[in-house]
């Protein structure tokens, strides 16, 4: 199940991409338009900024704005930042690999082989969708 955090993050980013403003957009504006708790969204946008997807400006007239062009922000970036691994088991994760404690040998593990296929197919979708693709469709 997709976490609310990731869901809210995607919605906030699409909001920023759609309302293609020059000036920074405040958290409260995004939260209001997308029905998200202000304080929760605040933390989410902070994570996205630290990941280099967003940039921000403090003080009066401040707010958030995209750090790159929408076409250069891939879903893989967003998902990995907010949701974590794309793979369903740690042993097939490209960016968050970890051995499965309960499988003696992953080269003969049926779950491993199945989940590699699932990872690849999901990854293809996320890689193939930029923020621009999302607001176009």
């Amino acid at each position: 199940m997709l976490s609310k955090k990731t869901k809210y993050g995607i919605k906030a980013l699409t909001y920023l991409a759609k309302t293609n403003k020059e000036c920074p957009v405040q958290i409260s504006e995004i939260a209001e338009n997308e029905n998200i708790s202000v304080k929760f969204l605040e933390r989410i946008l902070l994570e996205l900024r630290k990941a280099g997807v967003l940039d921000s400006k403090k003080g009066k007239g401040g707010g958030y704005f995209l750090a790159r062009q929408p076409k250069d922000i891939l879903m893989t970036d967003i998902i990995r930042t907010l949701e974590g691994p794309i793979a369903m088991v740690p042993c097939v994760s490209l960016n968050f690999y970890k051995k499965c404690d309960d499988c003696p040998d992953e080269t003969v593990c049926a779950v491993n082989k199945l989940m590699i296929q699932v990872r690849d197919s999901s990854l293809a979708v996320f890689r193939n969708n930029s923020l621009e693709d999302l607001i176009r469709s």
Copy 2:
């Protein structure tokens, strides 16, 4: 993240498919060979039986066995039984559809459109893999 329940379920089923015995196999035997808590596995196999994937025999000499041929047991059956929806958001689930409470209109929701693609690609993998495919690879 794939739950332990589903992971254990798949492993138990592949064990049954591999050790292609005539007689029923006891929970304790599967649990021991696959490093699974006996009582936890007991509940899992019960769910699979209720879903029609497994069948069982009680009393002495009893145990579990596949209800169908391995090639006729698809991953979609197993995942939906143990893990629940394949989709990452309820609004794109084929078998467990539910409206998203926080999205006013799913026809204009970017998350919805993205997750439909993810669902379709995952579904293709699960539909394309039977229990027989898993033990062959």
